[in-house]
Amino acid sequence: MKAIDIIPLFVIIPLAAAFLTSLAGRFIRRSSEVIIFIASLALLGFSVYARFLLNSAPGRILVYKIGGWVPPFGICMVIDGLSVFMLVTVNLIAFFVAVYSLSYMNQYTDKPKFFTLFSLMVCGMNGVIVTGDLFNLFVFLEIASIASYALVAFGTEAEELEASFKYAIMGSVASAFIFIGIAFLYSFTSTLNMADMARILAYKQNVWVIPFVGVLFLMGFGLKSALVPFHAWLPDAHPSAPAPISAMLSGILIKTLGVYSLIRIFFNIIGSTHGYLTILMFLGVASMLVAVVLALSQWDLKRLLAYHSISQIGYVVLGIGLGTPLGVLGGLFHLFNHSVFKSLLFLNSGSVDYAAGTRDLKETGGLGKLMPVTAKTNLIASMAIAGIPPFNGFFSKAIIIIACLEKGFTGYAICAVIGSILTLASFMKVQKFVFLGEIKDKLKNIKEVPFAMLFSVVCLAIICVLGGLMLLPSLRFFLDDAVAVILRGTSYAGVVLEAASK
């Protein structure tokens, strides 16, 4: 087996895990837990291994041809700096969420089913990241989306079903538009391979197809990544899901299906023109401000966090939309950081829900004394999302603000600062009403959550504290390679096709 053969494993492992958990879980007690643990650990290990594999690869790219067919005739899987960056992010979070779920999901009846859907979602996300084929991307996107519709409704209460219904409708609308966009592109270029498509688009001029498809993709992927005004499904869907799934949705799903696909298509296939960048930045700033103002007035802990996901995605998109090396670096770094601290925050909200049985800010209070580990990790995550040094969020936010100034968008920089202040304010509210303040009488006897849940949150908190170190010159390659892929733009086509022809 050659080293390059690990690439399909990113899809095969979770797909196999999905079948095995539902099969074995029926007959052998606790087998689904063992399978999911091994599978997610293996995925994390393979993605880190892929990262180091890439360091020695020529051109820092690995292309796997399915069935040995050379693109554009066959489907290929591509791992470059950006994909591996996303892979590590996704599988890191997925691993900790899986470990957390081992204990958390005891509240629900059908654990194997949950893990099946969970694995399918991971499979979809990994597929979106590694695929080099546009239609394939759509298929994986739908796998992940449909799994997530089901997971949002997993509690099967009225509220959850309603949220899931809304999410499914809006998600399907987005998928439909994405699909139409892909169809237009296919009829225009006669290929579905992303690299080949980029090659053809580079010399084929047309006045209306590209902007038209661009709008469809902006709307479709914008909805998947919950940019204002396409965000309305998220504040309902994310709080309704079980906490580990909220962490997955906010932490990585919207970034993989939304932001990553946006970047891949607009920077590497269509080519980032001034117009797209302007719109991306504008949508980013709008999301950042509108959502944070809404978050401030929420009293449901998970709903508040959900609004912050929209707001933080705004930072990511703003940074990437700047299109400068510094801006893209800040955007990607914020993407990683946000995955870590937002999943940590959602897992903590799950712990609060698990221990106290409520997530209404008006009913909690003083839990810091009773749940010290949860309180401390939540404090760290709150500081990170609010951009307080020395936690990881500070660095990425500062880079984005400075990048805005550098390119002359002083107004956007000011908006980013205002957003940051309001984020801080709203997490101060969380701290005050959940972990500080007086303990309510009926919550006097609650206990800290079990070990598996603590393990995950503590590990994520450690990443939040040490995350800033990723900017050190010796560790920068992880981010720099991803930035290089984005800045390389449509010359991505040449690199992939050359690597594939070997």
Binding site: F212, G214, P229, A232, K397, A413, L436, G437
Partner: protein, 596 residues
């Protein structure tokens, strides 16, 4: 390099180590923290005597050099004080860890030259402040929230300001920057970074967190951060900007002077009417910042020297006042002036230190506060030589503010130490606090005296003049030693007259009104002093508004954000078709943009 990094690393590691020690070894934690803080103080002194250092990330010159041992001194005294004052708190290990980290990152902030390093240490200080306020328990939650929103928010403004400075100079090192403020970007970058400095130091309009923090936080924390370290760092940064980084123009100086004057007056007016001594001291901690900003705003050497000297003096006497107040609270378990009185015989050391520090803050010669205020006045007069009327108004505000400060400290001293006891007991047995608590305040009180009497010989010579780097020319004459001798001669003469006179023939009796002895309900506690001020027409209106939070940038911001948020919430009605309509409208907008 090693001399600079060592104390910082030691503080981080020591803090982590304390967190690892099991909580039941309380004595070990306390002792270990004390040792570390002494080490940090010694390290600070070493940095003070080291040769000037300029190596990229770090920069030690006259200005940053004297801040470092001062940070170490306050850290050490507060740690010593906490050994007793924090005795009733359970979560002692995180308290000491945060204190040590605060000392370490304050030193880092003072010596850092790189703006990123400065931002990190600066922001981390806000975080430790937040955590330290929360040590005092559930009732501090609201205050810590407000404090950290203001502090952390202004840190974000600093990122913006520093970013602009980086764009203007293409350098991350403060020592390489020399920015002319004439350009609008330069002006805004100065204001944004200054906002961070103002919020930390507590100048208007970012001051509102200080009085409330003073009321709720453990008093050692108030004495440590808002009263001393935050002032040192905030004014240090302002001075650094004004002296080395920016070339300010007369308009910017005028802004600083106005901010200084308004801060002095508004805060001291609020201090006059307080009932809680911690809150009263908190308002004075704001008011005194006004003098420092005013001094730096004069822009001439004597004024800036006065501002810096006042910063140092303020840290000393305000730390002393807060810790003395802590002694009173420790013994009496109350901070309400109404419930206190007549403690002068019971707590003589605390009485004496409070008296000295009160005299110092009110600008009574020969104490240190007088000297630095006098330098600031001279700076203002010096400024007046170049014309304009602003300096007269500022000078009047500063002097008037000084008078009101004295007035409010008369109230404080009377209400706590003089007058009758609130519980009506006659017992006046000495009941002083233990040495861990009276030693720090005594050291600080002695420093107040020494810095006043030997102002030329010690603080100006070693700290202030090297900081400024230029000669300070005094226009007025003030011979501290002679004046002190004269003052003491006057006092001695008075005493001689008193003893020589027929004081033995004085008849002492209980006070009475209308032939009846004064009962407990007739007690004059001092709380009511100056209450009539609230009834004067316009002043009354302003006081009412101020107490309702009308002038509070935090409350106003909150109202605005919730107003906007309410509108957005109205739009999110949870109906699926509405959401789909937005999506389609958004898409149509995009089509219009791309296909026009």
């Amino acid at each position: 390099m090693k001399i600079l990094l060592e104390p910082i690393l030691v503080s981080i590691v020591a803090g982590l180590f304390i967190l690892v020690i099991p909580k039941r070894f309380r004595k070990v934690i306390e002792f270990f923290s004390l040792i570390t803080s002494v080490y940090l103080f010694v390290a600070g002194i070493k940095i003070f005597f080291a040769a000037p250092i300029n190596i990229g990330y770090f920069y030690v010159d006259g200005l940053s050099r004297f801040i470092v041992p001062a940070i170490g001194l306050f850290g050490m005294l507060v740690t010593l004080y906490s050994m007793r004052s924090m005795a009733s708190y359970k979560d002692i290990s995180s308290y000491y860890a945060y204190i040590l980290w605060t000392i370490g990152s304050s030193i880092l902030a003072a010596i850092s030259n790189n703006i990123i390093v400065l931002l990190i240490s600066w922001g981390f200080l806000g975080f430790t402040l937040y955590a330290l306020i929360n040590i005092s328990g559930p009732k501090a939650a609201a205050v810590s929230k407000k404090t950290f929103i203001i502090i952390g928010g202004s840190d974000s403004l600093m990122i913006l300001g520093f970013g602009m400075m980086w764009l203007l100079t293409k350098s991350l090192n403060l020592s390489d920057m020399r920015i002319d403020i004439a350009a609008p970007t330069a002006f805004w970058s100065f204001l944004l970074v200054a906002a961070g400095a103002f919020a930390k130091a507590g100048a208007m309009p970012f001051h509102t967190w200080i009085p409330e923090t003073a009321k709720e936080a453990p008093i050692s924390v108030t004495a440590f951060l808002p009263a001393s370290l935050d002032k040192l760092l905030g004014i240090y940064l302002l001075a650094r900007l004004a002296l080395n980084v920016f070339i300010l123009n007369s308009f910017t100086y005028a802004i600083l002077m106005v901010i200084g004057s308004v801060t002095i007056l508004a805060a001291v007016m609020m201090a006059l009417i307080q009932h809680d001594f911690k809150k009263l001291l908190g308002y004075h901690a704001v008011s005194q910042v006004g003098y420092m900003v005013l001094g730096i705003g004069t822009g001439n050497p004597i004024g800036i020297a006065g501002g810096l000297f006042h910063m140092l003096n303020h840290a000393i006497y305000k730390c002393c006042l807060f810790l003395s107040a802590g002694n009173v609270e420790y013994k009496t378990k109350t901070s309400e002036l109404d419930n206190l009185g007549g403690l002068s015989k019971i707590m003589p050391i605390t009485f004496l230190t409070t008296l000295i520090a009160s005299a110092a803050i009110s600008g009574v010669p020969p104490f240190n506060g007088f000297f630095s205020k006098w330098m600031i006045y001279q700076g203002l007069i010096e400024k007046g030589k170049s014309g304009g009327v602003l300096w007269i108004i500022c000078l009047a505000a500063a002097m008037f503010g000084s008078g009101l400060t004295l007035a409010s400290f008369i109230k404080l001293i009377h209400a706590i130490f003089l007058g009758q006891r609130a519980d009506g007991k006659e017992n006046s047995k000495k009941d002083e606090v233990s040495w861990q608590m009276w030693l720090p305040v005594s050291i600080l009180a002695i420093l107040c005296v020494i810095f006043g009497i030997f102002a030329y010989q010690i603080p100006l010579k070693f700290f202030i003049k090297p900081a400024l780097g230029s000669e300070v020319l005094f226009t007025g004459e003030w011979h501290t030693l002679k004046a002190t001798l004269l003052l003491f001669a006057g006092l001695a003469t008075g005493l001689i007259i008193y003893f020589l006179g027929n004081f033995k023939s004085i008849r002492m009796s209980d006070p009475y009104i209308g032939g009846e002895p004064v009962g407990k309900d007739m007690r004059l506690s001092g709380t009511e002093f100056y209450n009539t001020i609230k009834e004067y027409g316009l002043l009354g209106v302003i006081y009412k508004k101020a107490e309702a939070g009308f002038f509070d940038i935090y409350e106003q911001g909150k109202a605005l954000v919730f107003g906007v948020g309410g509108f957005f919430q109205y739009l999110h009605n949870g109906v699926l078709p509405t959401y789909l309509v937005w999506t389609l409208l958004g898409m149509m907008g995009l089509f219009l943009f791309f296909l026009k």
